[in-house]
Every structure is written in structure tokens, then in C-alpha cells.
């Protein structure tokens, strides 16, 4: 299995750390993984993105020309990367923030009301986890537990108290995507 994922959004939306969570979790699951950020001053206020490749076997390039998946957290990011998604690929969007739509028929777009859910959980910062929950559930590339242990590691013990709410966020993401899928089938 191999996922070539681009996560994109405004700087400050946690794009980089979402990618890191996946990368760390993948490493812990013994997978091959790479994490490659866009970097530099254009991040300020502008858009940021990160490319995460997760694979069961060794791979060469950490650069993603045609993502198998895209997580888009705002309109400009959606517009920038939507055309490059591989045919048959999937897009996960924060439907609270992304309002433009895809004209492509050869890909699937999953609408995740991540901000709404996060607000329901009283922790805005968990919006990303909601989407990641949906992403790993749909693609099956990683286990939810790995993601949570990655979070524990990256947050550090001082922020242990944030784990439960993040676990909930992941589960909500999982739920949303399962529901969406079942309604399609």
C-alpha cells in the first residue's frame, strides 16, 4: 500500500503538524515514510503545504507530483492542488472553510465539517484530527491508535490532558466518513 498525500491550508492551520503526526505514526508502524514541507516566507499569511508519502515498501522520491490524496483546509489550497490529484484519488476537505467545488468526475471528494465538530468538542484545534480520522479510516493506511500515540509523543507529557479530546476527534472523523460511505453504497 502507498499513499501520497498533500495537506494544504493557511499557515497556522496546523498543516505541518498534521503531516508530522502521520509520518510519526507511519514510522511507528514500521512503514517507509517521508515528510516534505513547503517552506519559507510565503508561509506567512499565505498558504502552506506538506507532502507525506507512506508506503509499505521502499520508495525513491519524497516529492509528490500527483497526490493520491489531498487534504485541503481552505479555498486557495483546494484550487491549487485539486487539478493535480491522481485519477481515482480522494480529496478530504474542511467543509466549513472550503466552499469551492471540484469539477472532476474521476476523483472522490469527502466533505468533513471539521470545524463544526471541533467546536462541538470545545477545542477548535482538534479540527485537523477530525480530518485525519476520516483520512486514515477511508484509506486504511494507518491505525487510529498509532495516530494517538504519535500525538502523545509530539505533544509531550505536559499536554497529556489533550489526548482524550483528540481521540474523540479522530473517532468523530471516522464516524463521519463511515456514515458518508454507507450512504453512498
Amino acid at each position: 500500500m502507498k499513499q501520497e498525500l498533500i495537506i494544504a491550508g493557511f499557515g497556522g492551520q496546523g498543516v505541518m503538524s498534521m503531516g508530522q503526526l502521520l509520518a510519526y505514526a507511519a514510522m511507528k508502524e514500521g512503514k517507509e515514510v517521508s515528510w516534505l514541507p513547503s517552506y519559507g516566507p510565503e508561509q506567512r499569511g499565505g498558504t502552506a503545504n506538506v507532502s507525506v508519502v507512506i508506503s509499505d515498501s521502499k520508495f525513491g522520491s519524497p516529492v509528490i507530483d500527483r497526490p493520491t490524496s489531498l487534504i485541503a483546509l481552505n479555498n486557495p489550497s483546494f484550487q491549487k492542488f485539486e487539478p493535480s490529484v491522481k485519477e481515482g484519488g480522494e480529496i478530504f476537505i474542511n467543509e466549513d472553510l472550503v466552499t469551492v467545488q471540484s469539477g472532476r468526475k474521476d476523483i472522490t471528494v469527502h466533505l468533513i465539517p471539521a470545524l463544526t465538530v471541533a467546536n462541538e468538542l470545545n477545542e477548535q484545534r482538534t479540527a485537523g484530527m477530525v480530518i485525519l480520522g476520516a483520512f486514515i479510516t477511508k484509506t486504511g493506511i494507518l491505525k487510529a491508535e498509532s495516530l494517538l500515540s504519535a500525538l502523545t509523543y509530539l505533544l509531550g507529557t505536559k499536554k497529556d490532558h489533550l489526548i482524550p479530546v483528540n481521540r474523540q476527534a479522530i473517532l468523530r472523523g471516522e464516524k463521519i466518513i463511515r456514515k458518508a460511505l454507507s450512504s453512498i453504497n
Binding site: G45, G46, N75, P76, L97
Partner: protein, 75 residues
């Protein structure tokens, strides 16, 4: 309108909000193209055209006008 904001240029930094002596500037609920909540004046009438907000705005977002003084009658 005494105070107008060029909404798409605002970065929602709040400096104008904090500096206004009349406390009539707020960040609006909406999000502009760049992802910021732009500032807006909630009570134009209360504005004294003091320009403090415009002077501190780092992004030259704000224009200030003042009603022309009525010409005194010639005495």
C-alpha cells in the same frame, strides 16, 4: 462614512481595535480571502476622525474622512 476599511487588505491584527478611543472598531465575523477576520467600524457616528486607527494600521487599510466644517456666516 468617516472610517472605511479596505476589507480584502485587512489582516485582522486588531491594532486598530485596541487603539480606537471611541472603541467602535471590531473584528467582523466573516473571513476574507486571505483567511483573516477583517476589522469594521460598528458605529460610524461615534467616530471623531481622530485617525489613530489609520496611523497604527500596518497595512494602510483605513481611510478617514471628516464632515466639512459648515462655513460660519459672514458676520
Amino acid at each position: 462614512m468617516r472610517v472605511t476599511f479596505r476589507e480584502e487588505r485587512c489582516k485582522g491584527c486588531s491594532l486598530c481595535v485596541n487603539v480606537c478611543p471611541q472603541e467602535i472598531i471590531k473584528l467582523s465575523g466573516k473571513v476574507n480571502k486571505k483567511g483573516y477576520q477583517p476589522a469594521e467600524a460598528v458605529d460610524q457616528e461615534a467616530c471623531t476622525s481622530c485617525s489613530a486607527c489609520a496611523i497604527i494600521c500596518p497595512d494602510a487599510v483605513i481611510t478617514i474622512k471628516r464632515p466639512e466644517r459648515k462655513k460660519r456666516k459672514a458676520s
